[in-house]
């Protein structure tokens, strides 16, 4: 309820208030907001119905500024709720009912991305996997899903290579530690999505960080971990993440049961209760980190039918630097001191093992990514080591390298995602044309044209040249 007096009126110094005559004080109290002179406000001449009001005495010519002012249209409609506009911008459409269904389009299955024969083919995602991928935010708003009838993807040579590596690692109960890099819009996030698809189809558990910048640009809440004050948890983010993991892996989690005691949880979860119950116990941000910790402990227990884990993160440059968070002493916090990021970095660096096998995939991003000299150099070095060429050296006169980052990236594998071949480009374009979206005959000349326009086979640029153009 609003106070009858404005607060500023209460601030009138008592000495001034005391000096005012009593009658004057009463009027001021009655109309505290009135700016009219008291004498006129109290009792002007009464205006009769037929009589004209006597004109106020003319003081001379006065400029009426309001005559020049434009009348503003006052918008009376309800303003959008907080976050509503962003949600509209970031919404993901996965289907276009106008596009034609492509005959002979096959769904991806557990093995199809392992077979070299499927390289250069377009396969579609089964509906169940689409829901899972949506839950972990694997789809990006910038990708062209909304143009086609059904979400489908091109299986590239690199895809097959990565999936075979992942499968090999899972079979030997090891963790594949790999960074995907490449030019902009060559399909790095798409490759992560394919990895996640493969993981879901093979009943893995997927933990996905869709945008690493959400963790380090100080846009989510953080707090020191109670018994480990040098590390910080991001409770809200972790809560959201647990819910996503639970939603995507619901079937699997209801099958697996806990084997450890977890005394720190907000709810008591007895031993041999389903993991789903454990995941469900994260109801509020307060206990979310403890639940995540317990969940991680359960999933990384050796044996007990635990599935392999895929831990994926997009935009890795954001976690390879000082974060935008500050400690209580107002010192910058390194990204690796954020507990979730630390966990990922430890997995990527090999300090934390995945006893049931799996993969730790990071992907660089060319959108809004900060410069991280250590990461750039490490990727070049690892790539040179893989290719058995001359390994680039550190610049001895440059101080911007980060030792902690160097340590993490000492032994990762690097997969450079390159341009697609013309055969792959042709497969994609035939899919576009079959969907009725590309209105041209797909022959060598057209393929060659789009392939060239798209920077010699940069898939995203080809999409721009063929689908998102004025020349349809």
């Amino acid at each position: 309820m609003a106070t009858p007096n404005c607060l500023r009126c209460l601030l009138v110094r008592p000495s001034v208030a005391a000096r005012l005559p009593a009658a004057r004080q009463m009027i001021t109290a009655a109309a505290p907001f009135s700016t009219t002179a008291n004498s006129r406000a109290a009792g002007g001449p009464q205006q009769g119905k037929g009589k004209k009001a006597p004109k106020p005495p003319v003081k001379g010519k006065q400029m009426n500024l309001s005559a020049f002012k434009k009348k503003r249209d006052v918008d009376k409609s309800k303003p959008p709720l907080p976050g509503e506009r962003k949600a509209y911008r970031k919404r993901i459409l996965l289907s276009n009912n106008n596009a034609l269904p492509v005959p002979g389009l096959q769904d991806v299955n557990a093995e199809s991305m392992l077979q070299t024969s499927n390289s250069g083919k377009v396969l579609s995602l089964p509906d169940a996997v689409v829901d899972q991928l949506r839950a972990v935010e694997a789809f990006k708003p910038t990708q062209c899903w909304g143009v086609f009838r059904k979400p489908s993807m091109l299986v590239r040579a690199e895809t097959v290579e990565l999936m075979q590596k992942m499968q090999k690692a899972a079979d030997s109960q090891q963790a594949l530690r790999l960074v995907v890099t490449g030019d902009r819009i060559t399909g790095k996030s798409m490759l992560l999505l394919q990895a996640m698809t493969h993981a879901y189809l093979n009943d893995w558990v997927v933990i996905n960080v869709p945008e690493a910048q959400e963790l380090t640009t100080a846009c989510t809440e953080y707090a020191p971990i109670p018994n480990n004050p040098t590390q910080y948890m991001q409770q809200n983010y972790v809560l959201k993440m647990i819910q996503a993991i639970r939603k995507a892996n619901e079937k699997l989690f209801s099958r697996l049961t806990t084997v450890h005691q977890h005394p720190d949880l907000p709810q008591h979860v007895p031993v041999s209760s389903p993991l789903l119950q454990l995941a469900n116990s994260a109801k509020e941000a307060d206990g979310a980190w403890a639940v995540f910790h317990a969940l991680w402990q359960e999933l990384t227990t050796k044996g007990y039918g635990r599935p392999p884990i895929l831990f994926a993160l997009d935009g890795v440059a954001h976690i390879m630097k000082m974060s935008d968070y500050r400690s209580p002493a107002f010192e910058q916090i390194h990204s690796f001191d954020l507990a979730l990021v630390r966990l990922f970095a430890d997995c990527l660096g090999g300090n934390v093992q995945l006893p049931n096998g799996g993969a730790v995939l990071a992907s660089t991003s060319r959108n809004n990514s900060p410069r991280t000299p250590s990461l750039e150099l490490a990727l070049l070095q690892r790539e040179a080591e893989q290719n058995k060429t001359e390994v680039p050296k550190k610049d001895p006169f440059f101080r911007g390298y980060d030792e902690r980052v160097d340590a993490v990236l000492k032994s990762v594998q690097v997969l450079r995602l390159d341009r697609v071949s013309k055969a792959e480009a042709r497969a994609v374009m035939e899919y576009w044309a079959a969907s009725g979206v590309l209105r041209a005959t797909v022959d060598e000349a057209t393929v060659s044209e789009k392939w060239t326009l798209g920077g010699n086979g940069v898939l995203g640029e080809m999409e721009r040249a063929a689908l998102l153009t004025m020349r349809l």
């Binding site: 506009r85 509209y88 911008r89 106008n98 034609l100 797909v442 004025m470 349809l472």
Partner: protein, 298 residues
């Protein structure tokens, strides 16, 4: 100075690069040694006249396979001939006849003549799309307007088929609504042409006598009509509120309005009707004596 220009063009004509005579290549293709290529080619409609004569090709192939089979080992070493054969095979894969004089020495053959208008750099877009893009442009930022146009077309392509309103008929001969989303350029053109006014009312100053202006309807050209229609649409769009944020919101609003026009929900239709009414009223003024006098004086 026309004579100088003529000589210049004459000189240039002499300088044009002419295709090398066929004789420069070894006339016989060595198909027997060439690596087999399996490229499925869908010949485009425009290149149909350049399609290789399959019978003729197969005949030559047979002839040469029979003649070269005896000296196969020798031919493998003659790389120039081999390359020639490979290049000819490549041309067959592109849907061209390697023995066509006009094609020889060109990877994709010569363009058909007269060159279609969309092959000209400055006329490469559909005329309506091009005009509308320039009307969308602000502060001379054409590429931004082009991106906006691409977003508009994409929106039209992904939006559900419009529900046509019989009270607001579109142009006669319009395709059914279900066909529109897959041809967004047609969708856009149809919307704009359907609400475009046929006339404008021109006020001739002082012609009515007594200092009053005389309203006279004037017919418009197609381009003018589209311009007016789209500016009406833009007026509505600029008053609309965005649902979201970011750079895609303006084109989304435009596209929503275009859908509204086709569905007959838009206020632009009322504007058109009003203008046409005013034009019908002003039609009487065409017989005004002042106007007649003016016409006579010309």
């Amino acid at each position: 100075m026309p004579p100088r220009l003529n000589t210049l063009t004459a000189v240039c004509r002499n300088l044009t690069i002419r295709s090398r005579p066929l004789a420069q290549w070894p006339a016989q293709p060595c198909i027997a040694v060439a690596a087999p290529r399996t490229i499925t080619t869908t010949p485009s409609q425009t290149r149909n006249q350049n399609k290789p004569n399959v019978k003729e090709l197969s005949r030559t192939t047979k002839r040469w396979s029979s003649t070269t089979s005896s000296s196969e080992g020798q031919l493998e070493t003659t790389s120039a001939e081999n390359e020639a054969a490979l290049s000819q095979l490549q041309m067959v894969a592109y849907g061209l006849n390697p023995f066509d004089v006009s094609v020889e020495g060109h990877k994709y053959g010569l363009p058909e003549l007269p060159i279609p208008s969309e092959m000209h750099m400055k006329h490469r877009y559909n005329p309506v799309v091009d005009q509308i893009t320039r009307l969308l442009m602000q502060d001379g930022k054409l590429s931004k307007a082009q991106r906006d146009m691409a977003i508009i077309l994409n929106y039209l392509r992904t939006s559900p088929p419009p529900k046509l309103n019989p009270a607001r008929p579109l142009l006669p001969g319009a395709p059914p609504a279900s066909h529109l989303p897959l041809d967004p350029v047609l969708y856009l053109t149809l919307a704009i042409d359907s609400v475009a006014p046929l006339i404008r009312v021109r006020a001739l100053k002082g012609m009515a006598g007594g200092g009053f202006s005389l309203d006279v309807p004037v017919p418009l050209a197609a381009r003018q009509r589209r311009r007016i229609a789209f500016q009406w649409i833009l007026d509505v769009v600029n008053k609309k509120k965005s649902k979201g944020s970011g750079r895609t919101m303006f084109p989304h609003r435009v596209a929503e309005e275009i859908v509204a026009v086709v569905e007959g929900r838009s206020g632009v239709w009322d504007k058109r009707q009003q203008l046409h009414k005013a034009g019908t009223t002003a039609r009487a003024n065409l017989n005004s004596p002042n106007l007649r006098r003016k016409r006579k004086s010309f």
